[in-house]
Symmetry: C3
Subunit: 458 residues, 3 copies
């Protein structure tokens, strides 16, 4: 933003040029590498002697659609709570997720479904790509309002690649179980975003403080996002599991956990406020922690009691985090976390990973019967004990934290490149610098918008 | 609210303490009683020789998700129409439904799936718990804006228990058919809520009248609720039916009935207004009556014509109710029905029960063939004639009306307990007494909010 | 509106009387003609020796629900962008679609599932009726804000009939493939609506220009519509295809195409604005063009690359259309296209038809294997070559354009009938003439509303 109008104008070209460049590159890579798999290819499917009813589509597509709704409606509208950043919240969610779907189809395809020189795609690649987009949007939540779309696209480019590598290490190399992504999605996305936000720390951010709050209607829009995430979370955690009892059990556990995190969030929100009034920030976010916390253990024999207890704990920790930890993160650790992703995804994600360690360590042949094969194939085959599985789960959490923190820090350095378009400190959380905003809105704003205001970051 | 600030503060602890108490109690009961059923337990499922494709999950989970969306998005946003009560409408819906899901899992579990000393849970208990939450939210609609969250939690505690008992009497003892709940959900929820509202009658409610209306955007938010309920109602009525043709036919009948209630609502709304203009209250609510009215008969051989005719009648009756009956209910019967649940759930529910009497009485082996077993098992087994089934259906309606009315009256007395936190007459339909409301909103309100204003009910 | 208050009042009766007349007529026709089919009729289903799991319901109902959500939530809220026409946008969508579902059940039923003197209905007739409602709502987008509900109901009456005929000619007589309706839905709906708008051209429309724009919150509501359409479009295109690989592949292709149209829309929107800022109109609409453009070819062996490339092209063309073509359409061709349906449905629909010509012409036994039967049955049976199929596809586009243009022009003449209630030029895009609008809104409007203002069209 600094300097001449001409330079400002040239920076305005960064977004369209990056979009065209990225879309051009993925288009070429799709042409070279991406092919239908045996369930989406007409010849391959009919060559096998399948009943149409057995096509994986019918077992996973309804769950996929719920996940898709969570990513675009849920995350998008959850972030609309800011009074002047609704267009950007839902619009950039739309852009980043759309790019992430393509790019992670390629990255995850190379790592998981590459054979015969090609990536093979079907419903499972759609679900996995949406999961990766979810991690990107979690990170987006930490830096919401403080980054321009070119920065966000670069973050997505990097994060999708690292997400794929982390997931590959955990699931394929370490044999870690993490169907609903307590580690691979929530912990990774949260600590990637927090590290990135640390590097992008803005000491002068209070210049935009008056815009960093909600208004009545923006909070109602955000509740649409919350409810979408809440109702469809059982589909999220169960979308990629083994079929049959496992998918069924995962949905059930998630459903119970979320009811408990909702009650504990309401209780804690009223308790920690001075006057017993509820805080919309808590309800919108912490009530969802029950979905995060059973991301790893949801497919296991957690028991309905375990699900309820875990949800209760997660809602409690998350609400306390919003009240007491977020201010400390900013003042002591210089981490400005716009949406409080540390409370919704970070801590509940780590808790979920640890719960997975516990439940995996307690698994027995007795409890799972022949279903052990579906949940812990390495234990079922005798290649690993329950204790060994638990240790691997714990190591998976460690790997995730390291990769996320290092990756996010690198991402922060990348996004600090001086030629990248970024909002000045006084224009954070403001739609008008990226969007043509309708007239009525302009009238409400006091004083003229100075697009050319110097960027204090420089 | 009356009395000293100290007493007011201690009342503020009612909500968090009730949440913690209820959550603690359900957690313990879950630990003792709730277990996975044979479709969600790893060992049990694999012990049986099942194909994963036959797990009930694949036949009912998509319908469950639609019902789940109706309960949390549909009911929640439908009630956002009040100008200053949006946080409470969607927030308390969230809280009450989350608690109802846990608590009705226990109540319905004891009554329907208790064996070997344990409650066994799976997708059907999830659907049934959501149905029970729906009944609670219907009752909530009658007292919306006039009750505090501790009162609402106590109402939920009582209503869930009585809902379970009524449902058990109808379905298990009387052999009544009521898949979509014209009686068990709509009639029960409506008359429970209306009786409760009668007991809680506030003669001074006009003190809050200026807040008991909508604004432009709150009506648009409410339309989100309406459309969610409307589009997913076919899933609601068909979610618990027998599989195959029955589930298919129920969805189809509900779909047709709703189209007809929509047209009759538009027609009547324009006719009864003085100047031909449409009233959003009618469109938001009465257009849904077509879903309620086929709740009992939707699974039967109602015929497409029957569905359309029933929907037309329901939309008509419901719109006329909003126009002419609601004012009389308040002035003559001292029933203040905030959302007009008598028009949307009460009368259409009773009509739906009577339609079920008629269609059951007309059922023949000829019309149902071997499908009679799925819809009227007692007739199919020769234990009951069609006429006898019809009489049982009618008796089920009677039982429901009695239990709902008595239960709701008891509920009203319970909620009148003087130490319970309740809004004063001048602060009804007001978010600020329960929520930290963002600044902009405060500025709009004339005059200071007097939280300590005496409660005229005392 | 012209003339005496008495005449105005009598015009106000047009909406309710038309609703009652149409509902009465369809109710009678349902009674005479509509019957359950072999999958929804209890006796017929159980007479056959079917497993319940094979009922078509389980393969198509989840997709149907997504389509249903698109029609009522997606189209309804997409059109809420106008600042003073939200009630009408979502309300008339509700009314027109509800009527279209009934009426097209009859029209399509006579043409596609009439035997033994009856129309037979099930999940496929539900999907087809929703598709037809989609076409009606596309046309509605062209004349949004400039027509009264009686006019809109008459338009629906005509368009549903012509839609059914066009679809019958293409699919049944010409053997054209068009699962997702690039031709039958998008091209037909767009050119029908544009022709109609041409006949209804209002030279004095600038009198309402101040209302023909969005405000901040109305744009956020519209984004709900956009996201609903975007996420569920894979279900839309795949809902009526053959089961198995074909349905799976169609969903996958649509998913990829939409990601690419989103990126190209963001790129072009920023490029064509003077200052690099994004335009909500483009994001809300053009990003969806990727769904339209693969409506015909999505079920074919388009390849993932083909899907991405098509989506990229469609987003580009659509955004450029909003920027450069829409103003010309109004100034040179006297076509006032409120929602820009030419850009979202017209051009991408034609492109999609042409893409279908190309991909059909390139189809080989090698590429499809035994799956050729599912996609191109006439080629598989040897009754037609790939080139011949391509020519038939092209002819289908021609037929659609002719029928839509002629039909829309006739529709325009019908809607110009002088006794029909229509808003005057100065009261277009205004809810208050059809709805009782809550008080707050009234206060915002300068000056009194003159309902009796002369209609300059007369």
């Amino acid at each position: 933003m600094a300097g001449s109008p001409r330079r400002a104008t040239s920076r305005r070209l960064q977004l369209p040029l990056l979009c065209l460049l990225f879309q051009g590159a993925t288009t070429i890579l799709f042409a070279i590498f991406v092919r239908y798999n045996h369930e989406t290819d007409a010849a391959l499917w009919h060559w096998g002697n399948h009943s149409n009813a057995n096509n994986e589509f019918y077992f996973r597509y309804p769950s996929f659609q719920d996940v898709h709704a969570m990513v675009f409606m849920g995350f998008g509208f959850l972030m609309v709570f800011l009074q002047r950043y609704g267009f950007s919240s839902v619009g950039f969610t739309f852009l980043l997720a759309a790019f992430a779907l393509q790019w992670s189809t390629l990255v995850q395809g190379f790592l998981h479904s590459f054979y015969g020189g090609h990536i093979h795609v079907g419903i499972e690649s759609m679900i996995n790509a949406d999961f990766c987009a979810g991690a990107v949007l979690i990170s987006f939540g930490a830096i919401l309002g403080k980054t321009g779309p070119p920065q966000l696209l670069l973050m997505t480019l990097l994060e999708v690649a690292l997400f794929g590598i982390n997931e590959f290490v955990l699931l394929n190399l370490l044999g870690v179980r993490d169907a609903g992504g307590s580690m691979t999605i929530h912990t990774f996305g949260a600590y990637f975003g927090l590290s990135l936000s640390r590097v992008l720390y803005r000491p002068q951010l209070e210049k935009s403080k008056h815009r960093q709050s909600s208004i009545y209607h923006s909070d109602l829009f955000a509740m649409i996002g919350t409810i979408f995430l809440w109702i469809f979370w059982p589909s999220f955690n169960s979308a990629p599991t083994s079929l049959g009892d496992t998918q069924h059990r995962t949905a059930l556990n998630t459903y119970y956990s979320l009811t408990a995190s909702t009650l504990s969030t309401f209780a804690l929100s009223a308790l920690v406020s001075g006057d017993g009034r509820l805080d919309m920030v808590h309800i919108q976010n912490a009530a969802l922690a029950g979905g995060v916390v059973v991301g790893t253990s949801g497919e296991m024999m957690l028991t309905p009691f375990g699900a309820v207890a875990a949800g209760f704990l997660a809602g409690t920790v998350s609400t306390l985090g919003y009240k007491f930890l977020t201010p400390i993160l900013e003042s002591k650790f210089k981490i400005q976390d716009t949406c409080g992703i540390h409370n919704l995804h970070g801590m509940p994600g780590v808790l979920g990973a640890l719960l997975g360690v516990l439940v995996a360590g307690l698994s027995t042949h007795d409890a799972y019967g022949d279903g052990l094969e579906s949940v812990f194939p390495l234990i079922a085959k005798g290649q690993r004990s329950a204790t060994s599985q638990a240790i691997h789960q714990l190591f998976g959490l460690f790997v995730t934290l390291v990769l996320a923190t290092v990756g996010g820090s690198l991402g922060g350095l990348l996004l600090k490149l001086p030629f990248l378009d970024a909002p000045p400190d006084s224009q954070c959380y403001e739609d008008r610098i990226y969007w043509e905003v309708p007239g009525e809105y302009e009238n409400e704003v006091q004083g003229p918008l100075s697009v050319e205001e110097p960027d204090t970051r420089a």
